[in-house]
């Protein structure tokens, strides 16, 4: 198989993770069933979610406001206690507001899971190395913040157990996906956040 990064933005970049991000996120989201609400953080994470579930009204995706995905997931989870809420975000975005892990741990909603797609790089800005490629462990930070259910996934066969934890934990849960650094094709994106919000609310609440 040809190297997908050959000549691309991520060419020559390395990470300690080896998972294919698109494969890992899709497998994890597929295992959650249809009745979940998803907040997708900006850039690469949103691409992974779109590639996994398509253009779906139960997803709200960010195009900016870096650092807000996890706290938005918290507000949504508290507002919708009967639905499982998943935040999918990258290492760069989570590092920007890493205290949110403590905020989520203390609030400890029974229905909120965070999936961090950690490629150890800031892909959107040219694949500069992030803290997680230099020794920072976001799973340890999640644990230290007080989140009780935390998993680091490095192998594809560990995804089933992580998915089960996300589905069944009666409290906040955190999954760190250690993925390879690559630059998958861009997904079509909606930049009109107001339209996106209204579509999400229409599907969930029956009104915009």
């Amino acid at each position: 198989m040809a190297d997908p990064n050959e000549g691309g933005r991520a060419a020559g970049k390395t990470a300690t993770g080896t998972l294919d991000r698109r494969v890992a996120v899709k497998q994890l989201l597929d295992s959650m069933g249809d009745d979940v609400l998803i907040v997708a953080g900006l850039a690469g994470a949103k691409g992974d979610v779109t590639a996994a579930v398509g253009d779906d009204p139960r997803v709200f995706g960010f195009g900016g406001a870096m650092g807000a995905a996890a706290s938005m997931g918290l507000g949504l989870a508290l507002a919708q206690p009967d639905k499982r809420v998943l935040v999918v975000t990258g290492d760069g975005e989570l590092l920007m507001n890493v205290g949110t892990l403590a905020t989520i741990a203390i609030a400890n909603p029974p229905n909120l899971g965070i999936i961090c797609v950690d490629n150890e790089h800031y892909g959107e800005t040219g694949f500069q190395r992030s803290h997680t490629g230099l020794g920072t462990d976001l799973a340890v930070m999640a644990q230290g913040g007080g989140i009780g259910a935390v998993r680091t996934v490095r192998e594809i066969d560990e995804l089933d157990e992580a998915g089960e934890m996300l589905r069944n934990t009666n409290g906040a849960a955190f999954v760190l996906l250690k993925v390879a650094v690559n630059d998958p094709p861009k997904m079509p994106t909606v930049w009109d956040a107001s339209w996106h919000k209204s579509r999400f609310r229409q599907a969930l609440l029956g009104h915009p």
């Binding site: 900016g64 807000a68 507000g75 508290l78 507002a79 919708q80 507001n97 905020t103 609030a107 919000k197």
Partner: protein, 172 residues
């Protein structure tokens, strides 16, 4: 004698369906925070930074709920980039800001952000209502709730140091 206006504010928030109260602790919000924590029908969410409140309230709206962010004026500076979320997504946003660096401030470190609070919010398209008179509390908070949740726009009520009092500092 204790002021009755903080309880008036709490009553208005609850009568108007506010169920999520995000806060970074501040002396001026002490009563509201205590009431929120003790209220079984409210999620009192302790934040590590005010920015998280912007995300929290947008998430609340996405899920059909209402929230308010309680913060001190210094926290407004922490929120700036994330205020693009309510603007880009046309999310309701209501914050009650207790002012420092406003009237009778004795700590010069508070002056820069206190004096910048309203211009910064307005530059981010957040409508500001200043509140200095205890007799105007109900009217002002009600007006802010209407603009936030009926017009679905970002609104801040600035609770001035004329209303809440200035923290006392002694000059050595």
């Amino acid at each position: 004698m204790s002021d009755t206006w903080p309880e008036e504010i709490y009553g208005l928030l609850r009568e108007n369906g506010i169920e999520q109260i995000g806060y970074v602790p501040d002396a001026g919000h002490d009563h509201l925070i205590k009431r929120a924590i003790a209220d079984p029908d409210v999620h009192a969410v302790a934040l590590t930074t005010e920015e998280e409140g912007v995300g929290l309230l947008a998430g609340a709206h996405l899920g059909g709920s209402r929230g308010v962010l309680l913060m001190q004026s210094s926290g407004v500076g922490n929120c700036i980039n994330l205020l693009s979320l309510p603007r880009a997504g046309r999310f309701p946003f209501l914050t009650l800001v207790t002012m420092r660096g406003d009237f009778g401030e004795g700590n010069p470190w508070q002056m820069p952000m206190g004096q910048s609070t309203q211009p910064v919010l307005e530059a981010c398209d957040v409508t500001c209502f200043c509140l200095d008179d205890p007799g105007e509390v109900s009217r002002t908070i009600s007006a802010a709730i209407t603009t936030a949740f009926v017009s679905e726009l970002p609104v801040a009520v600035l609770l001035g140091q004329r209303l809440i009092g200035a923290k006392v500092f002694e000059k050595r």
